[in-house]
Amino acid sequence: MLVAWRYRERRSLVQWFDPRAWFIFYAAFLASTLLFWDLRFLAVFALIALIVLLTSGVSWREMRRPLLFIFAFITFFAFLTFLTGRGGIEVYRQEHLIRKITFPFSIFGWQPAIQITWERTFFAFSQFLRVFSLACMTVVIPYTINPAHYGITFRGLGLPDKIAYAIDLTMRFIPTFGRDFQLTLDAQRARGYELEKIRGGIIAQVRKMAPLIVPVTIHAIIASEDIIDAMDLRAFGVGPRVWLETLQYRLRDKILIGFSALLFLVSLALSFLSYGKFWVPPIF
C-alpha cells in the first residue's frame, strides 16, 4: 500500500486540542517562522516544533520514513545553499571569509573554488532550522487529525460548505488514489516496465512516465464522474448543510487560539521593528 491513513487516537498534545484551534496555531506558527532569519529566534520555533513532534504520540517506527526523507531533503538543500552561496544575497551584503578551498585541478582553464564564509555558514543553518520547524509541524498532522473531522474543521474555520466538503472528500480519496497508482505500477511492471531504468533528460523522463501517469489520470477522471453522480443523487449542495460531527471549543482551545494570536502579533511587531533579521555572531 502506497498511502494509507496513519491516524488513530493517541495520547498526544495535538489531539488534546480541538482541530480548529490546532490549525489556527499551525497557521500562526507558519506565518511567524517565515518572518525571521535570526538563528536565535528560529531556535525558539524549532524547539516548539520539536516539542510538538515528541509529544505527538507518533512512534519513531511510524514516522521514520517520512521524517528521514524530509531530513535528507532539507539537509541536501541547505548544503547546496552553503556551497553555492545563493539565496542568501537578499539577507546579507558583506561576507567574512573563513577559508577558501581551491581544488587542485581545472576544467578548461577554470579552477573551481569554494569560499567558506561566516555568512554562508549561518545562512545555511538558519535555512535548515526554518524548514525543519515547518516540516516537523506538518508531518504530525496526518497522524493526529481525524480524517473524518477535516470537513467540519474547515467549515468551523469559516470556509463555505462546498469547499469544506471538498477538503473532506480529498482526504477520503487519497488512499483510493494511492491504491490505483500501485495497481497501475504493478500492471506495467508485469509488462516489463522498470521505473529504475528511466533515464535521459527531463522531457524524456516525463515521457517514459506516461505508462503510469496516463492510466492513473484516466482512472481518476472516470471515477470522478461517479463521485459527482453519487453526490448529486444524495442532494449535495441544495441548501445549507448540517454537519453530523460537532466540535466544541474548550478552555484549553481558547487559550491555544489566544496564544497563537499573541505569537503572530508579537512576531509581526518584532519583524516590523527590524528584529530577527539575519544574524551572525559578532566575532570579527
Binding site: M1, A4, W5, P147, A148, D168, L169, M171, R172, P175, T176, D180, L183, T184, D186, A187, Q188, R189, A190, R191, G192, Y193, E194, A210, P211, L212, I213, V214, P215, I218, H219, I222, A223, D226, I227, I228, D229, A230, M231, D232, L233, R234, A235, F236, G237, V238, G239, P240, R241, V242, W243, L244, E245, T246
Partner: protein
C-alpha cells in the same frame, strides 16, 4: 389497482454528443412491493434508463429528452434533485466510488446532512439503516478498509437512510463474491416484501431468479424487447445471450446442434506433459504485511503444462496475492516460488514476464498508449525484443484477440470489451507461455465473455492458463483444475469434479452452488467430467427425469 409508483411513458433520450438515441420509446410501470429486473447486453441503454429515473438526466447529463416520468404520481420534469432523491434511492455499480465518507457513520449521514435534517434525527436514521442491514457493528469503521460486500451494504444504508419509496440498483452483484451476492439478494427481497419498489439492473439474471423478480424488462439497442413474467422471458431469449438456469438451457439446447468441442491449449501435447518439471512451483509460501500478517499461509502449489486452473475463493481469501507471487510482484516472507526452476528472489518482474503474462482485472489500469500498436509493442520493447520481431508479435497478438486492422486506433476510445481484449493482447505480444488473468469476465455481458473465454483457452503458443474468478460456472466449463483458497490457505486443489463435489463444504468457503454445478453433479456418472449445459443436453443418456429434478433444485 393502486397508483403505480413508477410510471414511464414513451421515454426517449439522446446524449448531446451522440447521433443516436440511447433509449427509445420506453413505456412501463412498477408498483410498490414489486421487484422489476432490468436485463440486456452491455450498451443496451440500461444505465441511461436508470439515470432518467433518478433525475441525473437531464440535470447532470445533457441531451434531448422526450416522454414522461411520474414518480408516486408526480411528474419529475420540474422537480429539483433534492426532491427526487427523497423518492428514489440509487446504488451505483461500484460501491467503492460512491462512498463519500471516511467513516461509515459519516457516509450514511451524507444525504441527511445535505437535506439539513436536525442532528438528532440524522443519528437516529443512521442507527436504523445500519441495524436494518445488520451492519451496526461497522458504524465507526473506516470505509476504505471494508470488504466489497460490506462497502455495498454501507452504500445501500446511505441511500435507505433517506427513506426512498423506490430503489434503483445498478448491477449490485458485479463486484461481489458468491456468498456476498446471495446476502445482497436476500436483503433486496426483504425490502421488496416490506413494500419498497426495486428496479434492479443485472447481468447475472440466473442469480436474480433465486429471489423471484415479479417481472423482467429486457432491453435491446435502447428499446424494450420484452416486458413480462419470467416464464415469458424464457420463450423470447436465446440461452446464448442471457445466462438462464442450467435446467432451462438443457431443455432447449436439445433442439440445437451440439456446441463445437474446444481445442484446449492446442500447443500442449498430452504425452509431453508427463514427467516434466512444473512451470511454476510454490514451496511452503507464506506472506504477510506488518499490519496484516498471514495473507498467505504455507502454500504448496504448482502450475504445470496443460493446466487450465480456476482459482476460487471469497473476497480477501488471498487469490490475488497468490498470483502476484507467481509474477514476482510480491516475494514470499517465507518459503520460495520457483519459476522454471529459478527462485523468484533472484528474478526481476521483467525477467519473469518473459515466460509469464499477467492480465490485470481492469484494462483502464494499464492502457496508456496513443495507438493499439504502441500499446501492444510496449511489453516486447521493454523486454528488448528487436524491432522487426516486435512488429510480428504485435500483429499475431492482434489476430488472436480478433482485433486485426485496429492497430492505429487509440485503445482508450474502444468499448470496454475491446479494451479487455487489447489488455490481453498486450500480454500475449510478449510471447508469454503462461497466461494469468484476474477476473477475466468482470464487467462484460454473458455472450461476450463466453465467446472471449472460448477464444482464450484455444490460444496457440500458450502452455498453461490460470484465472481468478467468482463465477463458479466459468470454472466448471473451462478449467481442468480448480484451486480453492480460504483465509490465506489453499484448501483444495484438483479436478473440478473432485473439488466441487461436496456442495456442503463449498458453502463453508463462501461459494454458492449454481444450477450448472448441481446438474453436472447429477449427470457426472454419464458425462465423466464437467461440461457446459449445452453439451450436457447432447449426452446420449440424459433423460427427462434428471432434467426436471435439476430445475427444481435451483428455483
Amino acid at each position: 389497482m393502486a397508483q403505480p409508483l413508477v410510471w414511464v411513458n414513451n421515454l426517449s433520450f439522446r446524449y448531446r454528443d451522440r447521433p443516436e438515441p440511447a433509449i427509445r420509446e420506453i413505456t412501463f410501470e412498477a408498483q410498490a412491493g414489486e421487484l422489476l429486473l432490468i436485463a440486456g447486453a452491455s450498451g443496451c441503454g440500461k444505465t441511461t434508463l436508470i439515470r432518467c429515473l433518478n433525475g441525473l438526466i437531464p440535470r447532470s447529463y445533457k441531451g434531448e429528452l422526450n416522454g414522461e416520468i411520474l414518480l408516486d404520481g408526480k411528474s419529475i420534469a420540474n422537480l429539483p434533485l433534492s426532491r427526487i432523491s427523497q423518492m428514489v434511492g440509487t446504488v451505483l455499480q461500484d460501491p467503492e466510488r460512491q462512498i463519500l465518507g471516511t467513516r461509515v457513520r459519516n457516509e450514511v449521514a451524507f444525504g441527511l446532512e445535505n437535506l439539513g435534517l436536525p442532528r438528532q434525527e440524522i443519528v437516529q436514521r443512521i442507527d436504523e439503516a445500519l441495524s436494518y442491514l445488520g451492519i451496526h457493528h461497522l458504524r465507526d469503521r473506516e470505509t476504505f478498509n471494508l470488504s466489497g460486500g460490506e462497502k455495498q451494504k454501507v452504500a445501500l444504508a446511505g441511500v435507505l437512510a433517506m427513506r426512498p419509496k423506490i430503489l434503483l440498483l445498478d448491477e449490485p452483484l458485479a463486484s461481489l463474491d458468491p456468498a456476498s451476492a446471495q446476502e445482497t439478494l436476500r436483503i433486496v427481497r426483504q425490502m421488496v416484501d416490506e413494500g419498497l419498489c426495486v428496479l434492479m439492473v443485472e447481468h447475472r439474471v440466473e442469480d436474480v431468479l433465486k429471489i423471484h423478480p415479479n417481472r423482467v424488462l429486457l432491453m435491446e439497442e435502447g428499446k424494450i424487447r420484452y416486458l413480462g413474467d419470467m416464464a415469458g422471458l424464457y420463450r423470447v431469449v436465446n440461452y446464448r445471450e442471457i445466462k438462464l438456469p442450467a435446467g432451462e438451457v438443457l431443455k432447449r439446447a436439445r433442439q440445437d446442434a451440439p456446441p463445437p468441442i474446444l481445442q484446449v491449449l492446442p500447443s500442449v501435447q498430452k504425452e509431453e506433459t508427463d514427467g516434466k518439471p512444473p512451470l511454476v512451483r510454490f514451496e511452503q509460501v507464506s506472506f504477510g504485511y506488518e499490519t496484516k500478517p498471514n495473507v498467505l499461509r504455507k502454500i504448496d502449489f504448482e502450475i504445470r503444462r496443460g493446466d487450465v486452473i480456476a482459482v476460487l475463493g471469497a473476497n480477501g481469501a488471498g487469490k490475488t496475492t497468490l498470483v502476484k507471487h507467481a509474477i514476482g510482484l510480491l516475494k514470499p516472507t517465507s518459503g520460495r516460488v520457483l519459476i522454471n526452476g529459478v527462485d523468484s528472489h533472484h528474478l526481476s518482474v521483467a525477467e519473469i514476464a518473459r515466460t509469464l503474462g499477467y492480465v490485470f482485472q481492469s484494462p483502464s489500469h494499464m492502457l496508456f498508449a496513443p495507438t493499439v500498436f504502441e500499446e501492444l509493442a510496449f511489453g516486447p520493447r521493454n523486454l528488448d525484443h528487436p524491432p522487426h520481431q516486435v512488429e510480428k508479435e504485435v500483429m499475431e497478438a492482434l489476430e488472436i484477440v480478433n482485433l486485426s486492422g485496429r492497430e492505429k486506433e487509440p485503445p482508450l476510445a474502444l468499448s470496454f470489451g475491446q479494451q479487455k481484449r487489447v489488455s490481453i493482447a498486450a500480454v500475449l505480444s510478449m510471447r508469454s507461455r503462461i497466461l494469468i488473468m484476474d477476473e477475466p469476465t468482470a464487467g462484460q455481458d454473458y455472450q461476450n465473455y463466453m465467446d472471449f473465454m472460448d477464444a482464450i483457452v484455444q490460444l496457440p503458443n500458450i502452455e498453461a492458463i490460470l484465472f481468478i474468478t467468482h463465477d463458479l460456472d466459468l470454472a466448471i466449463i473451462y478449467a481442468n483444475r480448480v484451486a480453492l483458497m480460504s483465509e490465506g490457505r489453499l484448501v483444495a486443489d484438483g479436478a473440478p469434479q473432485e473439488v466441487l463435489r461436496d456442495v456442503e463444504r463449498l458453502m463453508d468457503w463462501r461459494l454458492v452452488p449454481t444450477s450448472l454445478l448441481r446438474l453436472n453433479l447429477e449427470l457426472l456418472p454419464n458425462s465423466g467430467k464437467f461440461l457446459r449445459a449445452e453439451a450436457l443436453a447432447h449426452l446420449p443418456s440424459v433423460h427427462l427425469g434428471g432434467k426436471e429434478n435439476s430445475r427444481e433444485s435451483i428455483l
